[in-house]
Point group: C2
Chain length 477, copies 2
């Protein structure tokens, strides 16, 4: 037996990795089964490993409990079977709150109970752009307001996205065609590195496992290849605590797949992922039935930000409108709304009962549009989304629940009203009997908070600036 | 027999009036039947007359054909029966195009074939405000862009509408209560005068026959009184060529009435009105079934200006969104959208396949809000609606038919594209094969028309300013 390479201490929700030398003959990707069981007391967690090339087999584990974990490998290859190791799981470092979970039915929190207020963005193909642009993207994200990023595993072929990436998930055969039975570990190590980069920035990586924008054949693989790809992805990536699984972007444009395929994909991911990261699927037109048990939250593409209640009721889960059209000026109507309109939509979604996602699509001489390639942000919305995120993080820990038309909060404690396109110069409120509140005017575009009144109760009227897109926050005193 | 007072020449679609002295005993409103038959050649049109007080019985007629018309009265009162008269119907004067008719299924034109492009406004209670304010309203309308005005017969009781009018449709009894069997001719003469004032300004009077905003009992009259009121209104007003009949404003808020009542009202008006003026009914929430045969066009209240196709399909008639929320700043959300938003909604409705109505509700120290009382306009939308009206009047005579998403026109001849909230910096079009067009950029807010290209064909892309709320007009050359 070889001595496993392992760290002896891993923080809670960190990543423990065990690497072993094993067989190199035949096809290690398909012919060798490898995994490990991680135990703490009487609890055991079985985890799939994966082949990482060059004779190296790897298994990763993210411990959710402090203490000393033991590990025993299992394999049908004798040289990989029955290795043991142990490591200590220590307290999480500052900023490590664990993976994101659904909480209070329609909201999210980290596993340590810290609320998670999703302000997402999209850089679909950012990991396929090479080091220069990718590092620039990370530098941009460092000061951006986003805490989730939607990104594709497969490269993207689409308008403004014609460049050939350097690395691909699958290996090539001698004739240049794909070897569907072998992955390219270099691609996956690169992808994982980027997921880890996002983790260090506190950003959830919403990994899009399939998508229709394809010229290489990844959108039309056979079922066996699809399933093996999914298991490989989950084995490699599930131990990163910031991973989310998005089965697809615009799944309904992938005509080669049936609903039964998507159901199967969900079940494979659900069964293989020991940590139960958030799982959803993003659509172009008709929605997938998000009420299915393996879906943790509804991932929606819709321009109408007032429909959260309908979807909450239909699915009984958090709703994220991951694509409500992007700030930009390209000809496509999904990519040319003004910053003010996007900020408006974030606020509408917020008071309507859902979370919203950002994207940016300004024409660029070198076709570097944030929405797909990353780079730098040109728009005016991100600063305003930082303001919104701050407002949300100062809000009730249970999240904002719809309380009527364009008002959300927690009844009897906190109300956030939003005027939308309306411009009342006077606004009347009726507060619960016997309660006292203080009122503030929030300007989502100017990013200002102005006191309106210190002590209000019952029915009252406040004067407002008579301009649209204003909010009033009522805080119980 | 008395000699009838009559004019001997009336222009086509003008108003001929015959007045006779008759019985004054009993109740002339309910006990005397009076009318006339107007004949031209072998054609006869039977018209109801009405009692105008002080022993005077009147019948009005609006001739639609030039020539010499003969008139014979009929009555169960001997002194009113069998009078004859004749008059010459002459050519219409400049600006007199006849009553408005539905044309090309979803549009309107005057009876002489001139297109009518509805740009409506609302001054619900303007005729109940007294001469000073009413004259000011007319002065405002003289230079305003509106060619239809929604106005109530009954006075209005509502927020910002608390003043008691001087005149009422019904007479009072000695104890101050209403005499439901007697009308007050002074009220009706005043109302008719205002309808005639609008006619002289080229404005259609969309007369609202019932409404729920009531403290006097007019919203809860019994069926017999309702019906008598309707017949009296039609007998008095139908001969004004600019009259439209709106059975109600927000009819569904009038809980004392059933759908059967509204159906009956429509039939009474349809049967009594020899000219078949436009007929509709305006709703608050659920729509009346505008596909019923007595409805000429759908009168809609809705903030969503993108739904014309749905309503066109449902009803097969023109759609007027008479209330898409008003420019203003009052607390009520139906009355506090910015001018830009209202102009945007007009354009959205236009390219979506409907006509739209304006209203204005700015807070005013004396509660004089245009939407109800008239007065002066404070807003920024009317100038822009004049621009839109000009664009429409320069468009195809058949009207603008939806041609896709936010584009309307006549296929192969004229296309009007509107960006809405979108801000493309480039826009691509595909023109019908072999056709050449010139393109203009229209800015609905700045009210400018800028040439974009002189001769375009096939597929092409134009540069746009990258700001929202722009339009591109393509004209075949």
């Amino acid at each position: 037996m070889q001595s496993p390479r392992c760290e002896t201490s891993v923080e809670r929700w960190g990543l423990y990795e065990l690497r072993l030398q094993g067989p190199t003959h035949g096809n290690p990707f398909t012919e060798v089964r490898f995994g490990a069981s991680f135990t703490l007391g009487h609890r055991a967690v079985d985890v799939d490993g994966f082949y990482d090339g060059d004779g190296v087999y790897c298994v990763r584990f993210s411990p959710d409990t402090e203490g000393t974990w033991a590990c025993t490998t299992r394999s049908d290859a004798a040289s990989l079977d029955g290795h043991t190791a142990s490591f200590r799981c220590s307290v999480p470092s500052a900023g490590n709150h664990g993976p994101v979970r659904v909480a209070h039915t329609y909201h999210f929190q980290y596993e340590d109970g810290t609320p998670y207020r999703q302000i997402g963005t999209t850089c679909y193909a950012w990991v396929h752009q090479g080091p220069g642009l990718e590092e620039q993207t990370l530098a941009t994200l460092r000061t951006a307001p986003f805490n989730k990023l939607r990104m594709c595993v497969f490269p993207k072929h689409y308008r403004y996205n014609e460049n050939e990436p350097e690395l691909f998930p699958f290996a090539r055969q001698a004739d240049g065609s794909w070897d569907w039975d072998r992955f390219d570990p270099a691609f996956w190590r690169h992808l994982e590195g980027r997921v880890a980069d996002l983790l260090s920035l506190g950003i959830e990586a919403d990994l899009i496992l399939f998508h229709p924008y394809d010229r290489w054949g990844f959108a039309t693989m056979d079922a066996e290849t699809d399933d093996r790809y999914l298991r490989y992805a989950v084995a490699r990536l599930a131990a990163y605590r910031n991973v989310w699984w998005s089965m697809a972007n615009e799944y309904d444009l992938m005509t080669a797949k049936s609903t039964a395929d998507w159901d199967r994909f969900f079940r494979i991911v659900q069964q293989a992922d020991p940590y139960h990261h958030p799982r959803s699927i993003h659509t172009c037109r008709g929605f997938y039935d998000h009420s299915k048990p393996w879906v943790t939250h509804a991932s929606v593409q819709h321009w109408d930000l007032s429909r959260a209640l309908e979807w909450r009721e239909a699915y009984g889960k958090p709703v994220i409108n991951d694509e409500c059209q992007y700030e930009g000026n390209i000809p496509n109507q999904w990519g040319n709304i003004p910053a003010r309109e996007l900020v408006h939509r974030f606020w509408l979604g917020t008071v309507g009962g859902m979370y919203v996602g950002h994207g940016e699509t300004y024409l660029h001489p070198d076709e570097i549009l944030w929405w797909s390639k990353g780079g730098v942000l040109h728009g005016e919305s991100p600063a305003r989304l930082a303001f919104l995120r701050q407002v949300l993080e100062e809000g009730p820990v249970e999240g904002l629940e719809p309380q009527g038309r364009r008002v959300a909060g927690q009844a009897g404690r906190y109300y956030l009203h939003y005027t939308g396109v309306h411009q009342p110069a006077e606004w009347s409120f009726e507060l619960p009997e016997g309660q006292h509140y203080r009122a503030e005017l929030l300007d989502p575009w100017e990013m200002t908070v102005t006191p309106l009144a210190d002590d209000l109760s019952g029915e009252f009227t406040v004067r407002l600036p008579g301009k649209p897109y204003q909010a009033v926050r009522l805080l119980r005193i």
